[in-house]
C-alpha cells in the first residue's frame, strides 16, 4: 500500500538540529582541530620549500597541496588519511545512538517518516564536513597568499575547487559507511570499530591484497615478453574498489596538471605527446570524471543500503 505524504517532511528540521549538534559537539571540535593543525603544518612546510623555487612552476598553489617536506607528508596525503576518520566520527552513532538514548520512538512518533530522519542526519553530516573542508581550503589559500605573496590563477582555483568537491565526495563515502554500520549495529562501539576496520583495510592493507588477488586472477605480473597487461589491468580494477585509490587518482590528475593518464600507458600511446606539459583543466577533469562519479556513486549506493536496512528495522528499543 502506498503511503501518503512526502517522505521528505521534516528533513529540514532534522538537518538543522543535527548540523548544529555536529558543529558544536566536542568530538567534532577535537577532530577538526587535528585536521586543521596537521594540514596547515603540512601546507606551511610546503610553503617554505616552494619559496626556494618560485618561478620553476606555473602552479605554485597546487604544489602547496602536493609537496611533502620531511617529516610531514603532503597536504593531500594527510587529508586522504584523516578525512575518513572525521567522517566515521560523525556518523558511527547516528542511528544506534538514537536507539541507545531511547529517543528514536519519540522522534518517529512525530509526523515524519524515517526516511527524513536518516536523510536529514546524513545531509547534516555532509554539511558539517563541507563547512570544515571549505574553511580549510580557504585557510590554505590564505596561507599561500600570505607567505608566497602570489595570488592563485584561475586554472589553479578551478583545479583546487574540483579537488575540494572530490574531497567532500570522498568524505561522503566514509560518512555513508559509518551510517551503514550505525544502522546495522546497535552498539556504537561495534559500529565505530567495524568502520575503522574497513578504513584500515582500504588505507593500509588494500595495496597488499590487490597484487595477490590480481596474480590469482590474471597470472604473474611479468610474462615471457614483458609486463603482463592483463595483470596490470586487473590490479588497477581491484585497486579502484578502494575509495582511497579513487581519491588519490583524482588528487594526482587535478593537482599535478602534467598527469596525462591514470594507469598503464603503452609506448605507442605517448608517441608525439609533450611529456611534462600541463593538460588544460577541462582535460584533467575528463580524466578523473570516472573516479569522481565513482566516489559519488559509492556514497549513494552505501547510503541506499543503510536506508533499506533502516526501513526494515523494528523501532522498539
Amino acid at each position: 500500500m502506498r503511503r501518503r505524504g512526502s517522505p521528505f517532511t521534516g528533513v529540514g528540521v532534522v538537518l538543522a538540529k543535527e548540523a548544529a549538534d555536529y558543529l558544536s559537539g566536542a568530538r567534532m571540535w577535537v577532530l577538526e582541530a587535528l585536521v586543521f593543525l596537521t594540514a596547515i603544518a603540512a601546507a606551511y612546510a610546503a610553503i617554505l620549500s616552494i619559496r626556494a623555487s618560485i618561478g620553476e612552476s606555473p602552479f605554485l598553489f597546487l604544489r602547496l597541496l602536493t609537496m611533502a617536506q620531511d617529516p610531514l607528508p603532503s597536504f593531500i596525503a594527510l587529508l586522504g588519511f584523516l578525512i575518513p576518520l572525521v567522517a566515521i566520527a560523525i556518523g558511527f552513532d547516528a542511528i544506534n545512538g538514537e536507539f541507545g538514548r531511547r529517543t528514536l520512538s519519540r522522534i518517529l512518533a512525530q509526523p515524519i517518516y524515517r526516511d527524513a530522519l536518516l536523510l536529514g542526519k546524513f545531509l547534516a553530516g555532509l554539511l558539517a564536513l563541507t563547512i570544515g573542508l571549505l574553511s580549510l581550503w580557504l585557510l590554505t589559500i590564505g596561507l599561500g597568499l600570505l607567505f608566497l605573496g602570489l595570488a592563485p590563477n584561475t586554472e589553479e582555483m578551478v583545479r583546487m575547487a574540483g579537488f575540494l568537491i572530490a574531497t567532500i565526495a570522498y568524505g561522503g563515502v566514509w560518512l555513508a559507511v559509518a551510517f551503514l554500520f550505525s544502522v546495522v549495529f546497535r552498539a556504537p562501539a561495534t559500529a565505530a570499530l567495524t568502520a575503522l576496520g574497513v578504513w584500515l583495510l582500504f588505507s593500509l592493507f588494500w595495496s597488499v591484497v590487490t597484487p595477490l588477488m590480481a596474480t590469482l586472477i590474471a597470472g604473474p605480473p611479468e610474462g615471457i615478453f614483458g609486463p603482463n597487461l592483463a595483470y596490470l589491468h586487473t590490479a588497477q580494477t581491484l585497486d579502484r574498489i578502494s575509495p582511497n585509490t579513487l581519491y588519490a587518482e583524482i588528487a594526482l590528475a587535478l593537482l599535478q596538471p602534467a598527469t596525462r593518464a591514470l594507469g598503464p600507458v603503452l609506448y605507442s600511446q605517448v608517441q608525439g605527446a609533450l611529456l611534462g606539459a600541463p593538460l588544460p583543466a577541462t582535460q584533467s577533469f575528463l580524466l578523473v570524471w570516472p573516479q569522481l562519479t565513482g566516489l559519488v556513486a559509492a556514497m549513494i549506493v552505501i547510503f541506499a543500503i543503510a536506508y533499506v536496512v533502516f526501513q526494515r528495522q523494528e523501532i522498539r528499543a
Binding site: 500500500m1 502506498r2 503511503r3 501518503r4 505524504g5 517532511t9 521534516g10 528540521v13 532534522v14 538540529k17 549538534d21 538514548r101 531511547r102 529517543t103 520512538s105 519519540r106 522522534i107 518517529l108 512518533a109 512525530q110 509526523p111 515524519i112 517518516y113 523494528e314 523501532i315 522498539r316
Partner: protein, 312 residues
C-alpha cells in the same frame, strides 16, 4: 448520543516469522475515554501501540486512528496522536526547551506556538522553572513529566501512554495519574498501557486484557469481575465471631468468600445480597459493617491468569 470512536482496530495482527505477536485483535476507543491495556510482558501491548502509530506494519487486519489509516496516512495519524514511550529518552546535552522545540518543529508548530505551548505544558506537568536546564540534570520522574509535556504541547486528540509510571515513586505516580485524568477532562482519548493494576483501575473507564497476542477480556472493571470472578457484586462484611466465613458461604447466591483480615470478609455474589447477609449474621455475630466493595482489577487479573495457566 453516539460516542465518536477515535481508535478502531479490526483483526489487527502482527507476525514476526512464525511468531504471532498480535493475533486478530479488535479494539475501540472513544473520544474522552481512558482505556487501559494490560497483560504480561510479551503479550502484544507495545506492538499494538506501534501499529496504531504507524511505526510498524500490521501483517493482517486494519486500524483507524483519528479517522486515518496508520498504514496509509501515518503522518496524519502522528499529527493527531501524542505518544509517551516507556522510559522516555531525551537529548541530554540539550535543554528541556530545545528538546521539546525540536519535536514541536517536527510536529509542524510555529516558533510562537512552541513558545506558548511549552510554557503552558511545563506548568501543567509541574516543571515550570526548568525550561532552560539541560535534561542531563533531570531525574527519571522529571523526564517522564517532560515526556507528558511533549504530548500536551501537541494538543492531540489521542494520547498513547506506554507504561508511563513504571519508573516513578508513589507520590509522583499519583501526580502523574492526576495529569492523565486532566487529559480526559480536555476530551483527549487515552490509551494507557501499564503493569500497575491499581493505577489502571483508578483512572481507566475500560480495560483490555492482553494474553498471548489476543485481547482475552475487555470492558469495565465491574464487567471483567463479573466474568472472571463469577459474581457481579462484591460486598465487604465486617463481623466478629467464629465461623463467620461458613455462615456467609451458606447464603444462597454467594460465590466466594475471601478473608481480608481477622474481622473483614470479601464476598463475591451474583446479586445484591446485603439484606440476606445482615439477616444471616445479625442473630449470632457482632455485625460491624456491610458495604459494597469495588472489585479489584488485581484480583481479576490474578484469577484470570491463574485459570489460564491451569487450563494450559
Amino acid at each position: 448520543m453516539t460516542e465518536e470512536v477515535v481508535i478502531r482496530a479490526q483483526g489487527l495482527t502482527k507476525r514476526y516469522g512464525a511468531t504471532v505477536a498480535v493475533d486478530h485483535i479488535d479494539l475501540d476507543v472513544s473520544a474522552g475515554e481512558i482505556v487501559g491495556i494490560l497483560g504480561p510482558n510479551g503479550s502484544g501491548k507495545t506492538t499494538t501501540i506501534l501499529m496504531l502509530l504507524g511505526l510498524t506494519e500490521p501483517s493482517e487486519g486494519r486500524a483507524e486512528v483519528a479517522g486515518f489509516d496508520p498504514l496509509r496516512d501515518p503522518l496524519e495519524v502522528k499529527r493527531r496522536v501524542g505518544y509517551l514511550p516507556d522510559s522516555v529518552g531525551f537529548y541530554d546535552g540539550l535543554s528541556a526547551r530545545d528538546n521539546l522545540a525540536y519535536t514541536g518543529r517536527l510536529a509542524g508548530l510555529s516558533r510562537r506556538e512552541i513558545d506558548e505551548r511549552f510554557a503552558e505544558a511545563l506548568t501543567r506537568v509541574g516543571l515550570p522553572d526548568v525550561g532552560r536546564d539541560r535534561v542531563a540534570t533531570f531525574s527519571r520522574g522529571m523526564r517522564q513529566r517532560l515526556g507528558l509535556a511533549e504530548v500536551l504541547m501537541k494538543r492531540p486528540s489521542i494520547a498513547i501512554l506506554d507504561e508511563p509510571t513504571a519508573t516513578l515513586d508513589p507520590h509522583s505516580t499519583q501526580e502523574f495519574l492526576g495529569m492523565i485524568r486532566g487529559l480526559k477532562a480536555d476530551g483527549t482519548a487515552v490509551l494507557l498501557s501499564s503493569h500497575h493494576l491499581d493505577q489502571v483501575q483508578s483512572v481507566c473507564d475500560r480495560v483490555a486484557l492482553f494474553n498471548r497476542g489476543r485481547i482475552a477480556l475487555s470492558g469495565s472493571v465491574t464487567e471483567l469481575a463479573h466474568r472472571v470472578l463469577g459474581g457481579g457484586y462484591v460486598i465487604d462484611v465486617e463481623a466478629r465471631g467464629a465461623e463467620v466465613r461458613n455462615q456467609l458461604l451458606a447464603i444462597p447466591g454467594v460465590v466466594r468468600v475471601q478473608g481480608l483480615g481477622p474481622e473483614l470478609y470479601r464476598v463475591d455474589c451474583a446479586r445484591d445480597l446485603r439484606p440476606e447477609i445482615a439477616r444471616q449474621l445479625a442473630p449470632s455475630f457482632d455485625l460491624l459493617g456491610i458495604r459494597f466493595a469495588e472489585p479489584s482489577l488485581n484480583e481479576v487479573y490474578t484469577r484470570y491468569f491463574d485459570e489460564a495457566r491451569h487450563a494450559a
